[in-house]
Structure formats: structure tokens, C-alpha cells
Symmetry: C2
Subunit: 353 residues, 2 copies
């Protein structure tokens, strides 16, 4: 019966792990993905993964294949969940595909894995000139270039000689309204700085930061490695302004360790943009009446001792829909959500049998 | 048949979640715990949990009760796993209880959740005088006092007027051999600083740190709160020496933001000791022939896309046995390990049927 099925929404690392996990545990899974591709944000936008710098597509291939080839997983690409009625054991969800087709499916439980979107640096921080200067880009723009095996100044296609990362763009910032730390940007910037030095050994690379949040093994896998093997310069400080000077960018700020103002010419500036709840995550909050926690992500009950159970019976969350998460967090939560959703369905149908 | 069972080793947050998760999915679970109590390190040593500051015993009670009362979980207290032979589907493990009794049990798969131990600050860092001065204590010693609802100077039982935390003791330290960041100590010190200010509003509390690693929501839940509501002083700097001066402690170091030396008298100094693989984790590496990764924790395959699968078929890991983890990580991994271990057992017994 259709109410025995699990609906997984979003096919990034968290959703893929939840879908595969539940299918391996014997449940039929309906996996709904808004784009035409599995893999989510890392697969679509990141050339390599943190912390090991392996190519994302190769690294994730097994995960994708495992879900694609699983007989118990029914994948719907280019599809969004637009409405839901009923309750656990009998959610009737309306799916809408990008060509406008609609259908209603019945499922017993749901894992929401709709993830995050990157902070848009144009919205508030006009300060950094993202929409003004071609050579101010984001981490994601840099990954897109790296996917093509290069890193150049967008203004003229030349390799940059001086590159700066600015951390915490749209994170740890009350003025912008994003009070949280986005957790992964220190790691990603460090990873990218290593990649830039590998491609352009003579370039000087700077990372301007408040705190380098390289927890766990990232400390030596990325942070020490960037400094010791690749001579990346970490500068604790604040960047206050970016101006155009000739064909370069003049970065003004303060080195808070040295206690002195900094004015340096850069060829390329990369903004380490943080995480916000994605459009899909906000939509799912509405569709399923899921409360959002203080920061706007989906609320869970019982944290830190339960990371995946929402206050709505039968609905679970995995990955960055619930807050800033790294890939490890997302896949662990995907597996945990699979376990909880499947035992929820097992209990439900046993008790009604 | 006994080979259908799952063995979970260690009953901290990761092991409890793995045991409960697998039992809820219909498997019989043998849960082996070296002490006489469930709950692991947080329950045994921490008065309150990060980040919400709720009492650990209350917060964890449901989790403990769920496992204790589960008909499919067979708990063995005061018991260690001392040997294993055979392989997936037919591990014959020797259990030894603290009274010396031995028995052999057959299980089909294993989740190792033997966790971490706190770095012992006496071993190398005699510098900080942990074994020399009564009023130099660790985070754990502070929690033990907080369990009794107080925070005092061990030397004289008086409440301290000046308290300092020193971060990264036994973490991020190549000389000591612990190159990793222990991930949770910034959060725990900030939590404790709030609790100290609640108990002793007139005390001055300082946290000396390299980087404040308050990822995700800890940023405003703990770090901003400590500063704004409780006037905790965060000092970026290095503490080089602690000396006895009268009945106080003279702390010498450098404030790297202000670029000047610091010499302050303290009544109580709390060392934020990091995580190391526990004795049990090292024992399980031997018993089950599990490879250890570069830092000495249990190795997993496929990270960051798989956090719980070890290279030995049928053996999974959850929580801080695999590296520095917070409680969220541990319970997510516990759930993920349950899902993977149960589907592993299901596949195994289906294919041999």
C-alpha cells in the first residue's frame, strides 16, 4: 500500500543517504528532486570535496549509482512538492513537475532534505562590490572555474597574481540577519587556496578571517597543509572596503593581529558566502507546517540528542535544511533519518494491522 | 540464531542511539558497556549539555529509558570485549565482566562506539601546573563541581573572583602529538563560563583562545550570549606560564590582538582538555583488527560520504571513536550505523537463506 512508502525530498548527500538507507531497509522510497540531476549542491557546484580534494563527480558516483539502480527507489526529477494533506501513514502529497504536470502520491512518512542556498553577497553587502566588480567572486564562482580546470580574473581571463578570500560573508553578521556560523566556509576557502596554489604556484593567496574554524581533522588536513606546504597567508582581520584602482582591486581593512591598517592590491577577491535555508526548505516548512527554529532553518525536537525528528509526526529532516552542516553531518543525518523513518513506518503499520 | 544479532560496544550517546535504532528496526541487540551505567562520558561527567545548558541527567533520561526498557536490547554492564574470532555473520566475541567472568557470544555485526578520553594535562604540559597547583583544574573537574551546584577554588573552598579558561590544551599541538582540533572545547568552555557567571555574577571570567570555534548555532547560542549577557571576556592569545604567587596563580602570556604581554592574577584556571581515542577504542582496534587513521582514531571508508563504515566487513563505528565529535555528530552517526548494520545483517541472512 502506498502509505507504506517513504517520501524523500531533495537528492543531495542527505537525501541520497536517506533514500538509499530506507530502501536498503526494505522500504519503497519516492525520491523527489527539483533539478534534473542527483547529488545536490556539492555535485552541481563543487569541483572537489572538502577535506580530501578529490573530484566531486568521481567521489559521489557510487552514491548516485546506488540510488539510481536501486529497485526500491522511484526517482522523480524536475519535480517539487507543492501541497500535502493528511497525516502520518497517509500523507497525500501533490507533486508538480517543471513542465506543469501534477499528480498526487500517498506516502506514510517524509524525510525533508532540501538543504541550503548560498548567501547572495549582493543583497546587503554592496560594500564588497560583488555586483560591481568582475573580479570579486564567490566560493561557488571559484568552484565553477575549477570545474573547468582554471582560475582566472573574470575581467580579463588572466591568471591572478594576488588572491584574497574574505571569510564570513553573510555569516556571523547581525546586520545582515544571519547570526550563525556557516560551519564549512573556513574549510572550503582553505581547500580552494590549496588548489589555487597548485594551479598557480607563484600566486600569493591570503585568507582574511575572524576565527579559522577548522574543527576536527581539518586542522592539519587543510589548515596546516595550506600554510606549511602551500604558503597560504592567513590574516586575522576585517576587510572594510574594496575599491577599483586601475585594473586591480584595492582592499582596505585591518590586520587585527598586527594591529595595523591594511591596504593591498588584489587581482581576484573570493567571498566566502555562508548558508541560508534554501527556497525548497522554506517551501517545505509551509507545505508540511514545519516550525522553523530561531535562525529560520527547520526545527528539530530533542537536540542535541535527536538531530532528525521534527515536531510533526512522521516528518524527519536531514542535512542543511536543519542548519549549517558539512557533508559528514548530512550523510550521518541521512542515515539516521532513514533508520527513524523506517522504524516509524514499521510501528505504524504493525499497530494498524 | 545468534549470528542475526548486532553487538553494540559502548553505551554513550552514539552507542545508545545505535542500539535503540537497530532494536527499533527489529534486530536483537547485545549492548556491552564497560562501566555500571548507561550514558557514556556526557552522563558520567557533564552536569549540563552544550548548547542548551539543560541538566544532562534529565535531558538524557528518555534516551536511557528507551534502551533499558527495550525488549530487544540485552545490556551487559561492567563488561569489556576482550577477543573476537570469525567474521561478519558469525563473530564469536569473548566478553569479560569486571568480576572476571568470561563468556563467548555470537553476533552477526558490530557497532563500535567506545568514544574518547579527555587529554591528561599532566602528561606533557607540566607548564600549566595541573598536577602542581590545586587551583588549576580541567573542564571535567569543573563539571564535577557544577554537578554539586558549586564552583570553588579547590585550595580553600572559596568562590573564585577571577577565573580563566585556557583553550586547546592537548589539541592543535604538534609537540604533544595531538594535531587535531577537538571540536567541542570552545563550546563547553563558553557554556561553563555562562554557568560560572550565573553562580558568581561578580566573578570575572576570561577565555584565552587561538580561534573560537563556535560553528553553526553555537555562535549566538553560546558565544554571543556569553559576551553580551554575561560579560565573559574572550582574549585571543597564548598562555605561556602559570606560577604560584601568594595564594593566587600568576598567568603569563600574550594578548595577540592587543599585541602586548599579559600578566594577570587568577583564583581558578580551567584547562580545556581535548579528546583522544579512549582506552576502549584502542582495545577494539586490536580485538577487531580495525585500522586507525592518521590521528589514531578508528578509520572509516569513504569519508566524507560515509562516516560509519570501517574497512572490516560487518563492523561499523559511531561517535568519537572515529575522531572528535560533538553530541549531535554522535547521535547522527549512531542512527546511521544502526541503519547500515541492520541492512547489512538483512542482506547477509537473506543471501545465505
Amino acid at each position: 500500500m502506498a502509505g507504506h512508502r517513504l517520501l524523500v525530498i531533495g537528492a543531495g548527500p542527505a537525501g541520497l543517504e536517506a533514500a538509499r538507507g530506507a530502501a536498503d531497509l526494505g522500504r519503497e522510497v519516492l525520491l523527489v528532486e527539483a533539478t534534473g540531476e542527483l547529488g545536490g549542491t556539492p555535485y552541481a557546484h563543487y569541483a572537489t570535496l572538502t577535506p580530501h580534494l578529490k573530484g566531486t563527480q568521481d567521489a559521489m558516483q557510487n552514491m548516485l549509482d546506488g540510488v539510481k539502480s536501486h529497485p526500491a527507489v522511484d526517482i522523480r526529477y524536475n519535480t517539487r512538492v507543492v501541497a500535502s494533506e493528511g497525516e502520518a501513514g497517509n500523507f497525500r502529497v501533490t507533486l508538480e513537475s517543471s513542465d506543469g504536470g501534477r499528480c498526487v502520491e500517498t506516502v506514510g512518512a517524509v524525510v525533508v532534505a532540501t538543504g541550503f542556498q548560498h548567501f547572495d553577497p549582493g543583497r546587503e553587502t554592496q560594500l564588497y562590490g560583488y555586483y560591481e566588480f568582475d573580479d570579486v567572486i564567490t566560493l561557488v564562482d571559484a568552484e565553477h572555474m575549477m570545474k573547468e580546470g582554471k582560475i582566472v580574473r573574470p575581467s580579463n581571463g588572466e591568471p591572478p597574481k594576488q588572491v584574497a578570500f574574505i571569510q564570513c560573508v553573510g555569516s556571523r553578521d547581525r546586520q545582515i540577519g544571519n547570526r550563525w556560523c556557516s560551519k564549512v566556509c573556513c574549510g572550503i576557502a582553505s581547500k580552494q587556496s590549496i588548489e589555487i596554489k597548485r594551479m598557480l604556484p607563484d600566486a600569493k593567496v591570503f585568507i582574511f578571517y575572524i576565527d579559522m574554524r577548522m574543527y576536527g581533522f581539518w586542522e592539519d588536513q587543510l589548515y596546516w597543509k595550506a600554510q606549511e606546504e602551500h604558503k597560504v597567508n592567513y590574516v586575522r582581520g576585517i576587510v572594510t572596503e574594496i575599491l577599483k584602482k586601475g585594473d586591480k582591486l584595492l582592499m582596505k581593512g585591518e590586520d587585527t593581529t598586527m594591529g595595523r591598517p591594511v591596504e593591498v592590491l588584489m587581482d581576484l577577491i573570493i567571498l566566502s558566502v555562508g548558508m541560508e535555508p534554501s527556497k525548497g526548505t522554506l517551501e517545505m516548512a509551509q507545505v508540511f507546517n514545519l516550525p522553523r527554529e530561531d535562525h529560520g532553518f527547520l526545527a528539530t525536537v530533542g537536540e542535541p540528542l535527536d538531530t532528525v525528528t521534527t515536531p510533526v509526526p512522521g516528518i524527519f529532516v536531514a542535512g542543511a535544511a536543519a542548519g549549517p552542516k558539512d557533508i559528514e553531518d548530512s550523510v550521518s543525518m541521512g542515515g539516521a533519518a532513514a533508520a527513524k523513518a523506517v522504524s516509524f513506518l514499521n510501528r505504524l503499520w504493525k499497530s494498524s494491522a
